[in-house]
């Protein structure tokens, strides 16, 4: 318990110091574009805990969740297929490298033409960015399945669904988690970006609105909210990772001791 407290203390030390510095350095600021942190904090609750929570924050997070989860399912599914089939891999790998190299924000205008400016477009933008890290890492993970373990499955006639789950997916899971972590940060960025074009709600849209309306403290509070959401999501991600990869971290720790 004291260990947890200590680690939390260390993790929070630098942010606390930086916030304090910001607080005092900006306290007497008269610059219109850099208002005192105190002002930003004061407008924060009224800005975000009102109707905007339901109208803007939750729809943004909803689109992120749908897009991110769809990319996970699609990326892991396709990655397992491509990774376990040599011919298919040789065929699609150059294409995947190309698609990955396309920065997803440039797809926004194209997707607007195809899917309009509604939720579908925004979810598609998120998928188009989150898919690649998951897909490519899954392919790598599946290729790295241990030969002895694969032979074990063959001799004990572990096939089909059991094999896909217990051999292929679980073997690849450390790599998949790496891809999923990259995809999460990409997803948050794309959530905001997709709302900056042709949108009428959402976090990104609201921040732009504040900027255009010269509501500078509110704009800053939006940036802070996005940062806090990012931290929250990464904490949730860690909890999930801890469950999924408990065996992996445990066995690595043991291997290090020996």
């Amino acid at each position: 318990m004291t260990g947890v407290l200590r680690r939390t203390g260390i993790a929070l030390a630098l942010p606390v110091v930086l916030v304090a510095v910001w607080w005092f350095a900006s306290a007497g600021s008269t610059d219109f574009y850099f208002p005192p942190l105190r002002t930003i904090v004061e407008v924060f609750p009224e800005t975000w805990f009102g109707p905007r929570l339901v109208d803007d924050v939750l729809p943004s997070l909803g689109r992120l969740a749908v897009g991110y989860l769809a990319a996970l399912v699609l990326g892991v599914g396709l990655g397992m297929l491509i990774g376990s089939n040599r011919a298919l891999r040789a065929l699609v790998e150059p294409l995947l490298e190309f698609l990955r190299a396309v920065p997803p924000p440039v797809l926004v205008p194209i997707l607007v033409l195809i899917a309009g400016i509604g939720n579908t477009m925004k979810v598609l933008v998120i998928i188009s960015g989150c898919l690649w890290p998951v897909l490519l890492n899954t392919v790598e993970g599946v290729r790295a399945v241990d030969e002895v373990l694969a032979d074990t499955c063959r001799t004990y006639r572990i096939r089909g669904r059991l094999r896909w789950w217990h051999l292929v997916l679980r073997s690849a899971s450390p790599q998949i988690v790496t891809g999923a972590r990259q995809a999460l940060s990409v997803g948050i960025i794309l959530m905001v970006i997709s709302e900056m074009f042709a949108a009428s709600s959402g976090l990104g849209y609201t921040v732009i609105q504040f900027k255009d309306g010269f509501q500078i403290p509110q704009m800053w509070s939006g940036v802070i909210l996005l940062g806090l959401l990012g931290v929250l999501l990464s904490v949730l991600f860690r909890l999930a990772e801890h469950r999924v990869l408990g065996w992996y971290h445990g066995s690595r720790a043991v291997a290090k001791e020996r």
């Binding site: 032979d151 074990t152 006639r157 096939r159 217990h166 445990g250 066995s251």
Partner: protein, 259 residues
Amino acid sequence: MLSVEELHKVYDGKRRRVEAIGDLTFEVAEGSFVCVVGPSGCGKTTLLRCIAGLLPPTSGEVTVDGTKVSGPPEGLAVVFQEYGRSLFPWLTVADNVDLPLRAAGTARDGRRTLVGEALDAVGLADAHQAYPWQLSGGMQQRVAIARAIAYQPRVLLMDEPFAAVDAQTRADLEDLIRDVWQRLGVTLLFVTHDIDEAVYLGERVIMLSASPTHVAEDLVIDLPADRDQLSTRGDARFTELRGRVYAQIQKAKQEGKTR
């Protein structure tokens, strides 16, 4: 029960062609315990993988129970040398033993009984919920043996299973395997490079030549069925048999060098 006929295996590399197995023919009777020894690099593992149906032979054939092997045959289990890599690190000990039974479609109650009995038999009754990587090397290999026991195979292949464990653990595991074999009546083919181990364990020892491999000698081990690390290894007959196998392996090594 198990027969190997004119087995021949060549690995065709880009630059060179390696003849791993020259011409191997032997039979293993149902319920017998046969050890295969040979100098290092003589294709022991290749032979085992061909029998297990994990590797297609270049020519010749392997039959298990009268059926030609073309893929991993039913009722055959393998205990690999690399215990650390043959267990699923994401599954508990009990689930590792259970997985082949699930794949075979055994009912849940039957599986629970088999898993419990197998783990009892290898002395891991209290490790059901542990993960393999939390156990020592010897205990991990016990899990792999328990998995093979629970699977109730008719043929059990072991590929240098104790090569990577310490000497004391090894002696315990040797006795465990003799015990398991006597109780289950399984046909056991045990590949090793350790001459003492082969003589101590087997009813028969097949000695292989250096590669390209053929059978150098097929020796019946006429030691009493009840074996004991102290008295059996101290037996004059054991020493004699051991000397004979040793001489044969040395000869095979020499021939391998001059070739």
